[in-house]
């Protein structure tokens, strides 16, 4: 008996955070800094910052087959192929063969099951939402109204931005509110020309990409062991300098320094344990991914930060007499309204001239063109919402030799010099919430751990397809406005939902428990000590990269949770 009680004590924490990625790292940092003993459960293997970035400092000739992209990706990394197509970082992307899922309609599910999750391999573009983003649903009668407004997130945005470190240029645009910035990265000469031309001829502002890189580290960055970006652009191998923001480089070290953090790896959360008395979560049941051993851990408050699909799956798999369809799922919205950003569509051009211009360093970022469609005085389009672009101008390198005609001494010499300038633009379009875009747990197919496989049943809509036409045409129009040559557009038919790696919306927040899973503090309406603060909570998608908003919501929810704990409300 005593043994039992002691064992239970040893497995009890103030808070449990499921996942160590972008938002899990923030939940761990905030909750430990506010005095809680926190257990972080990471389903994947351990990666130690710096020492486990095995390929970070390798030269091309040190890679066994010269870093060539391989169709290992086609066999084992279907979904992440588009991104992991480099030998130096392929292992940082989860293998689809070992972690299968079902595509009722095609969906690319890209994952990073290891310490730091996808914060190790993210694109690092970091933007605030704008006021309209929070109002669009209610103005247009789409989905449900957000229970919060931009103004409520402002202090949290500011708080997050300072710690993260975001390089960028303040522009004073309503469509793309400024963050607190570190110095911006430079533009190449054709990019400067492009920006000027598009401003003059089309009245569209262009700014340098706002990316989570330290261009001028502040004391609180160096305090956790981070240093300046070195402009190597080998980010997805892991950055030994901590030059870009990741859980590994920033939030987890901050949490660790409180001495109140415990991280358990290889710990797959199977379900939340519900206390029948008071309908609160008691803890979680966990499977060790290697030994299959099942253990339980207990806490007063749970934070789900397993990534949108992961967190929502855990809720779905947590069934009880009170919640026969999954924890907190009285509304039947769990798994529905799955959104992403649609991309792999845009325009390209060749650039004549600028032969005397070059650049030193590999910039881990691009230009950013904020949304201009269905915005301000723009004539109403045949679709709702809008899109932004990322892209830029660079000189071709030696790999052009694979397709450029010619061979011999001159050919060889030519390839040692910077090639012609080229520019490309890729659109990022907003996807609308639709209850029929969803995923659910398979009733009969399980994975290696006996957990139900995820079934994706979602696709782009007519709204998305109409928008893609504009993304191509507007992109071409801007490249032409700059006088660039051989302008072509592209729309990759292989692009499916999920490829944006911005999956979100499957446990949305709202005012009404009948139509939403979470309240305005990311708290499950019907199970108050469970918080979900990753992409699951989103009621709409905006067209800007979402990580900053997830992080702001997480810090806000953590602050609220601690206050509620102190007030004995949980």
């Amino acid at each position: 008996m005593n043994l039992n009680i002691n064992a239970q004590k040893a497995q009890t924490y103030d808070a449990i955070v499921v996942g160590s990625g972008m938002t899990g790292g923030w939940a761990a940092k905030e909750l430990t800094e506010k005095g809680l003993n926190v257990l972080v459960l990471e389903r994947g293997y351990e990666i130690k910052h710096v020492e486990d970035y095995k390929t970070a400092m390798q030269d091309p000739w040190e890679f066994e087959h010269r870093g060539k992209i391989t169709t290992v990706a086609a066999e084992e990394h279907y979904a992440s192929m588009f991104f992991s197509a480099k030998e130096g970082s392929q292992f940082n992307f989860t293998n689809d063969k070992e972690h299968p899922y079902i595509q009722k309609r095609p969906f690319n599910w890209i994952r990073g099951y290891h310490t730091g999750g996808k914060s190790l391999i993210w694109g690092k573009h970091t933007y605030r939402w704008n006021r309209e983003d929070f109002l669009a649903n209610t103005k247009e009668g789409i989905g449900i109204d957000w229970p919060i407004r931009y103004e409520e997130l402002v202090p949290w945005y500011t708080y997050i931005e300072k710690f993260v470190g975001i390089s960028g240029q303040a522009e004073g645009l309503a469509v793309l509110p400024d963050s607190t910035f570190l110095p911006p990265m430079a533009m190449t000469a054709p990019e400067v020309h492009f920006k000027k031309s598009v401003a003059q001829k089309l009245n569209r502002p262009i700014t340098i990409g706002r990316v989570a890189h330290l261009t001028k580290p502040q004391p609180w960055h160096t305090a956790v062991g981070r240093a300046s970006c070195q402009f190597r652009n080998r980010c997805t191998r892991g950055c030994p300098y901590g030059g870009y923001f990741s859980s590994l480089a920033a939030t987890l070290p901050a949490a660790r320094s409180t001495n109140r953090l415990t991280i358990l790896h290889n710990a797959i959360v199977k379900e939340i344990i519900l206390d029948d008395h008071d309908q609160k979560a008691k803890g979680v049941r966990v499977i060790d991914q290697n030994t299959m051993e099942v253990r339980e851990f207990y806490a007063k408050v749970l934070f789900l930060n397993a990534g949108t699909i992961g967190s929502t799956s855990i809720l779905m798999n947590s069934k009880s007499a009170r919640f026969p369809n999954g924890l907190g799922n009285d509304s039947d919205q769990l798994g529905r309204n799955l959104m992403d950003h649609h991309l792999a569509v845009g325009a390209r051009a060749d650039i004549e001239g600028f032969e005397d211009d070059y650049y030193f360093g590999a910039r881990p970022g691009s230009l950013y063109i904020p949304r201009f469609r269905n915005w301000g005085n723009d004539k109403k389009r045949d679709y709702l919402r809008g899109f932004g672009y990322q892209g830029g101008a660079a000189r071709a390198d030696w790999s052009r030799g694979s397709t450029e005609p010619g061979f011999g001494a001159d050919f060889k010499k030519r390839l040692t010099q910077p090639g012609p300038w080229k520019m490309s633009l890729t659109g990022f379009g907003e996807v609308l919430p639709d209850p029929n875009n969803r995923f659910y747990l398979s009733p009969d197919k399980t994975d290696k751990w006996g957990l139900p496989q995820v079934v994706f049943d979602a696709d782009f809509s007519a709204n998305d397809r109409a928008m893609r036409k504009d993304i191509m045409n507007d992109g071409a129009e801007m490249l032409e406005a700059a006088g660039f040559k051989n302008v072509t557009t592209y729309d990759n038919p292989a692009a499916h939902m999920g490829l944006g790696i911005h999956e979100m919306g499957t446990a949305r927040m709202g005012k009404d428990p009948k139509t939403s899973v979470l309240n305005k503090y990311n708290q499950v309406h019907t199970c108050k000590n469970v918080f979900v603060t990753d992409g699951s909570a989103m009621a709409s998608a905006s067209n800007v990269n979402p990580s900053l908003t997830y992080m702001a919501l997480t810090a806000r929810a953590a602050s609220y949770a601690v206050a509620q704990l102190k007030a004995k409300n949980l």
Partner: protein, 185 residues
């Protein structure tokens, strides 16, 4: 998404610079253990091996800097070919070598070899079909990739900068070599 779709996506990512069989080849190579590589049977006879090496050397000849043979490109190509490619693609490659053998490539002078290869290149361009791969395309992309990712190739061709430390727009200097950052992998 199926395999072909995944492949098309990779070539799209690269701006379509590599043929699908080459992508496939890198894959198989990746999956082989070093032992099995050593022990896998050769598919080139001496003459074919010699022609392949000579063609690679014509594509990237030794000048004031090392050539394809100096940096080990032929071994790289053979390895890829032997262990990576499907039989039809291997056959395409062998047929290409056979055509050159039939035209007396090995006994030709350097100039004659160049002329022969120019003909091959012109024919390839004239007969290019979407979705099919040619001998010329295969040997050229393998030579270029093998050479410009080798240590000697990189160090003699480029201004290699593994840790630039900054990013700035600059004016080019006369004779400026490409900065190589080694991030293509």
């Amino acid at each position: 998404m199926n395999r072909r779709e995944a492949l098309s996506r990779v070539s799209l990512m690269l701006g379509g610079t590599l043929s699908a069989p080459t992508l496939l080849a890198f894959d198989r190579w990746n999956q082989m253990t070093p032992e099995s590589r050593v022990n896998s049977p050769s598919i080139l006879n001496e003459e074919q091996r010699e022609i392949m090496a000579r063609v690679a050397e014509r594509i990237i000849p030794k000048t004031d800097t090392p050539g394809a043979i100096d940096v080990g490109v032929p071994a790289f190509i053979e390895l890829m070919l032997r262990e990576g490619y499907t039989k039809p693609v291997q056959d395409t490659f062998l047929t290409g070598l056979g055509d050159l053998a039939g035209k007396g490539f090995l006994t030709a002078s350097a100039d004659q070899q160049t002329t022969l290869l120019k003909q091959v290149e012109a024919q390839t361009l004239a007969n290019a079909k979407a979705g099919s791969v040619s001998f010329w395309q295969l040997i050229k992309e393998l030579t270029v990739w093998g050479y410009f990712t080798s240590e000697a190739g990189i160090k003699s061709s480029f201004d290699y900068q593994p840790i630039p430390g900054k990013f700035e727009a600059i004016k080019i200097r006369p004779g400026q070599k490409d900065f190589m950052y080694g991030n293509q992998v």
